[in-house]
């Protein structure tokens, strides 16, 4: 009963407050009253497997950001798998925009999947909250491969069309799209082999069954450190300090936009601006946490914060380029 009454009264209060704040322009008092969020734990879903890159980055960032939420509330993360993350994002898409159901997304389920036309949502159907991390995709070959540099490789591929086989985490993955984009911009032909994940494609590369692979920066790290594979080029849209020798194709190749795999937080469309602001503040502060930076460094990455507006722009541009490129590469109609 007690709980019931409290809930009822707070709903009434909220209704009262919001009616006032709609009435008058944004005064200080109404903004303060709106700040009474969150009042219960916030749920956040991840569309990828626990223990994977997107999951780890999300959980670590959420842990750090949670300390900066008002009212001592927390964010509870759970995984919802299926259809390359589309099942999870479709669920976020249908949620009430009250700020209590958020989603962690990556380039894959937010940008690439809608291009195939199988998802009920489009990439602009959400309120971006914050960008957590962005990591470039890199083209790798075995260390005993004949090509020492990107240039040598490019020469080989130009002379031998459709000979070079490369593996990715699957057809339609960001990594696949990145390489196909390079094919289109440089007018070269390479053969794609889709695997069920980056781990399998790296294994096949190590066994010499394929000639190259496009993988995330962190996925390449353990094997570059042990000298088993070499990074030929950075296909991403952000620089990779760990691999300065590999050319950053976004800058060196004209017309190549670069594809990063980013991880960020979204809320359903029409979530109140004030709520987004509170969440954004928490993530902004959380991503500066030295402990988080240290932990992310261990897995070879770093926080790349961007606020709601900037994140929205990033989404918009990536959606546009990927749509055009995928059409050009014949991946979508």
């Amino acid at each position: 009963m007690k709980i019931g009454r409290r809930v009822l009264s707070s709903i009434a209060l909220l209704a009262f407050v919001s009616s006032i704040s709609v009435g008058c322009a944004k005064t200080n008092t109404s903004a303060k009253a709106e700040m009474d969020y969150p009042k219960k734990p916030i749920e956040m879903t991840v569309g990828f497997a626990a223990g994977g890159m997107a999951d780890i980055v999300t959980r670590l960032s959420v842990e750090a950001a949670g300390k900066h939420l008002p009212n001592k509330q927390s964010i509870v993360v759970s995984n919802k798998l299926g259809a390359s993350g589309s099942v999870q994002l479709a669920e976020v898409f249908q949620q009430k925009p009250d700020g209590y159901k958020l989603g962690s997304v990556t380039t894959g389920n937010l940008i690439i999947q809608p291009n195939f036309g199988n998802t009920p949502y489009k990439s602009n159907d959400f309120e971006p909250v914050a960008l957590l991390n962005t990591a470039p995709n890199v083209l790798v070959v075995k260390s005993d491969a004949p090509w020492k540099t990107y240039k040598e490789w490019l020469e080989y591929v130009k002379k031998n069309p459709s000979k070079f086989t490369y593996g990715t985490a699957g057809t339609g993955d960001t990594k696949h799209v990145a390489m196909e984009t390079l094919n289109v911009t440089k007018n070269i032909k390479t053969k794609h082999v889709g695997f069920e994940g980056s781990a399998q494609s790296i294994t096949a590369l190590m066994g010499g069954h394929i000639m190259g692979a496009v993988v995330g920066l962190q996925e390449a790290m353990p094997l570059t450190q042990s000298g088993k594979i070499r990074v030929l080029a950075n296909l991403g849209s952000s620089k990779a300090d760990a691999y300065k020798d590999a050319p950053f194709l976004k800058e060196t190749e004209q017309g190549f936009p670069g594809f990063d795999t980013f991880t960020g937080i979204l809320a359903p469309k029409n979530t109140p601006k004030e709520v987004i602001k509170i969440l954004d503040e928490a993530f902004k502060k959380g991503l500066k946490d030295p402990k988080l930076i240290e932990e992310l460094k261990k897995i070879g990455t770093e926080p790349t914060y961007a606020g709601p507006e900037e994140f929205k722009k990033i989404i918009k541009t990536s959606a546009k380029t990927s749509e055009e490129i995928m059409k050009k590469a014949g991946l979508t109609k």
């Binding site: 709980i3 809930v7 219960k40 749920e43 509870v76 759970s78």
Partner: protein, 151 residues
């Protein structure tokens, strides 16, 4: 119709399933620039399934299938079967609205009713549901669906 045995019916249903898959397979390209396309495996598999199910039907009509199984029990047993099934379906439909604990309690209470006195039934149902909620939500951090009040 009664003379057609259950095995024959099973064969027919499998045949129909095979045909459905076969039709669906035509929507996926049979070959790609590699050779086989996404339609090749389903097409062949459904073809084989259709063939096998026809063999099965023929065999069952010849009564080579042996004994005739009765698909559904009768009387009390049928009632029991339906009780289990409806409890399963009810639990799944109810849980988004009332949360795991209440749905779980109702589920267990229904299945245990008639076997135990109502008060021991209720005690078992509450105990088991609470224990499971604690193990999954607390110990294993698997968030089970909860109602508005958080349980």
């Amino acid at each position: 119709m009664r003379n057609l045995n259950a095995q024959t019916w099973a064969g027919v249903i499998i045949l129909l399933f095979g045909v459905l898959i076969l039709i669906q397979s035509f929507f996926y390209s049979y070959s790609s620039n590699l050779g086989p396309g996404p339609g090749m495996f389903p097409l062949w598999l459904s073809g084989i399934l259709i063939l096998l199910s026809i063999m099965h039907i023929v065999k069952s009509i010849k009564k080579e299938g042996g004994k005739l199984p009765r698909l559904l029990p009768k009387g009390n047993d049928l009632r029991k079967l339906l009780k289990i099934l409806s409890a399963l379906v009810g639990f799944t439909l109810l849980i988004p609205f009332v949360g795991f604990t209440i749905a779980g309690f109702i589920f267990l209470f229904i299945l245990l009713s008639g076997e135990y006195k109502w008060y021991s039934n209720a005690m078992i149902s509450i105990g088991v549901t609470a224990l499971m909620f604690w193990v999954f939500n607390g110990l294993l951090s698997v968030p089970l669906p909860v109602n508005y009040f958080g349980f």
